[in-house]
């Protein structure tokens, strides 16, 4: 059982280790002590992020197995597992380690195409997962309901799609020779926006639960979706504000890279909090049965 080992504490430790390892190989270059260690940076990023999404995949599958009786939640967690699985492929295809065997791989337009070939389905899985989750909890009929301000916020988030269309020239794949790459980026971002809107609905449910591990898991899932959306916007804004050949601010760049590396761990954290419920319930069940056995034998 992965859930017993991959607790939220372990995930926080993994995130801290990931960020520290990356800073340890990146900061000496920033300080002018060493040359840039591309390979080490790429290796840290690829290994840790694959590990994070791998753990998310395992945990999500375990949670999906917990919902054999509830079809929509099973679909939801399987979709989130799909998101994690495709994201592992994404981390591999966008790894700068391929530069070692394919010079300038990360500057090749094919790199962008491969990246968005994984991002679009990953976001589709994320969106369908969140939507199925919202539907499942809504169907139970416990009175979870959206408030007026949620509808306003959702309308605002969906309004970002219009902004996306207007500022599509500022996107990284806008000048890609592959039309598929250009479209996939727009579709992927639109799906991310839809996911953010859906996660707002699950977040409202979490607010109405009155605590509990499930509420924490849903909130962290919302954070995962919003963090990804915010980082995409931040990077697009940064790209659009820079003149040709101008370098981005070092601190901002480091901050964005650190946040991007934290994103997969946030996905694992959401799954770890939900999986913690299984461990908690199993432990309580065991204690209950033991107590019953003692009473029966007395």
């Amino acid at each position: 059982m992965i859930a017993k080992r991959v607790t939220p504490k372990v995930v926080w430790f993994g995130l801290a280790l990931n960020l520290c390892a990356w800073l340890a190989v990146h900061l000496p270059w920033r300080a002018g002590i060493t040359a840039r260690m591309w390979v080490a940076e790429g290796a840290v990023r690829t290994v840790f992020l694959c590990l994070a999404y791998g753990l998310a995949l395992g945990l999500n599958l375990e949670i999906a197995a917990e919902h054999r009786q509830t079809r929509w939640l099973r679909i939801a967690w399987l979709a989130l597992a799909g998101n994690a699985a495709v994201s592992v492929v994404r981390i591999v295809v966008e790894s700068s380690l391929f530069n070692l065997v394919w010079p300038d791989y990360t500057r090749d337009p094919l790199w962008g195409l491969l990246q968005h070939l994984t991002i679009a389905p990953a976001n589709a899985f994320l969106f369908s997962g969140l939507l199925a989750m919202w539907w499942a909890y809504h169907q139970v009929g416990l009175g979870f309901a959206l408030e007026k301000r949620d509808y306003v916020a959702i309308a605002g988030i969906l309004g970002l799609i219009i902004a996306l269309m207007i500022f599509s020239e500022g996107l990284s794949e806008a000048r890609s020779p592959y039309a598929l790459s250009r479209w996939l980026q727009i579709v992927g971002l639109a799906l991310l926006i839809f996911s953010a809107a859906a996660s707002l609905a699950t977040h409202r449910m979490a607010m109405q639960m009155g605590g509990g591990k499930l509420a924490v898991a849903l909130r962290v899932l919302t954070l995962y979706t919003f963090l990804r959306g915010a980082l995409v916007l931040l990077r697009a804004g940064q790209r659009m504000s820079l003149m040709e050949g101008q370098q981005a601010d070092a601190y901002v760049s480091i901050f964005i890279v650190l946040c991007w590396q934290a994103v997969p761990w946030v996905a694992v954290l959401a799954a770890a909090y939900r999986a913690e419920m299984i461990v908690h319930a199993a432990r309580e069940l065991e204690q209950q049965r033991a107590a019953k056995a003692v009473l029966a034998s007395a």
Binding site: I63, E66, H67, R68, Q69, T70, L73, A136, Y137, Q139, V140, G141, L142, G143, Q208, M209, G210, G211, G212, K213, L214, A215, M277, I278, H280, A281, A282, E284, L285, Q288, R289, K292
Partner: protein, 167 residues
């Protein structure tokens, strides 16, 4: 020792409730019968003493209306209390079981969800409302709750709820 008369006739004679004909017969008899005379004297003396004592006791322990009312109220209150305790006992046991179920669910899916789940389960069960859940409709209520717990807490959580509800 009743001689020609029944015990009832003797009692009536001593208490002065007898008819004239029987009284004449008794008096004609006791003039000539010493043992009956002595018996009559003893009984008449004892009856007078009882009447005097009874009157004294009634004066000594006279109950006023207010005191009588208070006394009766206290007696009926005690009777009601005992009957209510008998009725409350299963209700209190059900409330304890409901509290235990809410306590099991709250760490997993939140205290508000637990309360809402209990209400929703009661509504779809034959109890129709949480206040009417009893020992008789407990199993269908618990089955409905398990279905909700399956969604909110997962299979293991639902099993925990089910087993806690059965204990």
């Amino acid at each position: 020792m009743t001689h020609l008369f029944s015990e009832e006739e003797w009692n009536d004679y001593i208490e002065g409730r007898i008819d004239d004909e029987t009284r004449d017969r008794i008096e004609a008899h006791i003039i000539g019968c010493l043992s009956c005379w002595e018996f009559h004297e003893r009984m008449a003396t004892a009856t007078r003493a009882l009447v005097v004592c009874g009157a004294g006791m009634r004066v000594a322990f006279a109950l006023q209306d207010r005191r009588l009312n208070a006394g009766l109220r206290a007696v009926f209150a005690k009777i009601n209390e005992a009957e209510a305790a008998k009725l409350d006992q299963p209700l209190r046991a059900i409330q304890q079981r409901l509290d235990a179920l809410a306590a099991v669910m709250a760490p997993m899916c939140g205290s508000q969800t637990a309360t809402k789940a209990l209400r929703a389960a009661a509504q779809v069960s034959p109890a129709c409302s949480l206040e009417l859940v009893s020992e008789d409709n407990w199993t269908p209520f618990l089955t409905s709750l398990k279905t909700i717990a399956d969604v909110m807490c997962g299979e293991t959580g639902a099993r925990l709820v089910w087993e806690r509800g059965q204990s």
